[in-house]
Point group: none
Chain length 259, copies 2
């Protein structure tokens, strides 16, 4: 949206003007915001009727439609992505029809007044990540050690050794020592080196084979290269899954309490 030509902002536009601009926006898959007085009909899985009032309507570039009132998290009416959009005029009203198949559903918005029309080409490549805290991930792995691998048995966590604290250590199904380093976000080289430090120390200290496993939602290319060269291992651990395990565990405890 660097170019200002990609922004259209009209205060109190005429209905005809809105219709022309909307149809162009639908064609070019722009994101549109309309603020004005409208009523809304919905027919599909259910039916609904919303009387006139001042609302915010958002039409996104994937064809999703949201009608928001002045309160609350949820839209009062909506249409999921992938619907067919149409703007037309009838009785001096602006009518926006959003139609979808399977299930067949229609949302029709009747504007008798538009205060603001704005159309954008939103550029948004930003990555969204949902994660648990490192402690959450650690607890989840202790509850559900198969998150690391089949047969992994944790022995202790936050164990102090000379170079620092080991997140989790235990043994694998073959009785080999395993050190686990947890990162809640994409692991970088620093994380690999941290793991390497512990593994190195334990190998020397115990004079036995020690496996090092980096547990994180992802690992950077460079870090992975380093990891492989150091003969360490990576295990993808999904933070969302960790959440679920913790949550389930909480529930289980509560139900246990009521038994």
């Amino acid at each position: 949206m660097q170019d200002s030509e990609h922004i259209i902002i009209c205060e109190n536009p005429s209905i005809n003007d809105v219709i022309a601009k909307l149809n162009e926006a639908f064609n070019e898959r722009r994101t549109t915001i309309i603020v004005g007085s409208c009523r809304v009909d919905y027919h599909g899985r259910a039916s609904s009727k919303l009387e006139y009032g001042e609302r915010i309507v958002i039409i996104k570039e994937d064809g999703s439609v949201l009608v928001h009132r002045s309160k609350g998290y949820e839209p009062v009416n909506w249409q999921p992505s992938g619907c067919v959009l149409q703007a037309l005029k009838d009785n001096d009203e602006l009518i926006i029809k959003a139609t979808k198949r399977n299930p067949s559903e229609t949302v029709t918005i009747f504007f008798d007044r538009v205060y603001l029309l704005s159309i954008f080409k939103l550029i948004d490549e930003g990555k969204f990540s949902l994660y648990a805290s490192e402690e959450d991930m650690q607890r989840a792995i202790l509850i559900e050690p198969t998150l690391i691998e089949e047969g992994f048995k944790p022995i202790d966590y936050e164990r102090k050794v000379e170079p620092g604290f080991i997140d989790i250590y235990g043994v694998d199904k073959n009785g080999r020592m395993v050190v686990v380093e947890i990162k809640r976000r994409t692991a970088n080289k620093e994380a690999v080196l941290q793991l390497a430090k512990y593994v190195e120390y334990l190998r020397k200290d115990l004079s036995r084979e020690v496996r090092g496993i980096l547990a994180a939602p992802d690992i950077s290319r460079e870090a992975n290269h380093l990891l492989l060269s150091l003969k360490l291992e990576f295990r993808r651990v999904d933070p969302k899954k960790c959440f679920k395990i913790l949550k389930k565990n909480r529930v289980r405890k509560i139900t246990d309490f009521f038994k």
Copy 2:
């Protein structure tokens, strides 16, 4: 919003300008739309991070906050109604903090660029009515019990028993107890188990035979299998048909009035 003084629309406003106007809007409980480039942090039940990108932020008069990307029905980040809002400046960025207690949650939005700021006093008294909901189906069955079967006589609805609320219960033409569980869409296993729970409880409690009928537009194969094995019954009931019955009933009442 008749008075145009209730509308503020600023294109490419300065950060200072936005902060001043936002804090006033928060005070006066206005509805605000901000379009610009931002990143978002969330901490609470989970945690999330959203990198920079162009988005639409809506802050409603009840304190709910929505961050919408250019695609999809759902906001990428949000805060439910009743949170504390704060707008401040840091490192030439606009920071909006939305904080809530119980559960303690924070959404922080960092804008490095604002394309549009608009503030409204939305007046919206319009009534919203939804038809063909589960409640409509329930009312329709109470008016027209043959929707379940010939000779069915409802006794009570939304009856609280130990495991929860029974949608409708009554007796069949042979005087046997009947429990009805209503679903407005294809019934799944959960619905069957819900019904089973009530039937089980009543059988024990009353020490008499109890029939369980699942009333829904459809039932999944697996759910049907479970239903049969539990010796429960399914009755196809169309939500739309229920709505028509209600409508007819309203009409009948009106015509009765004119007799």
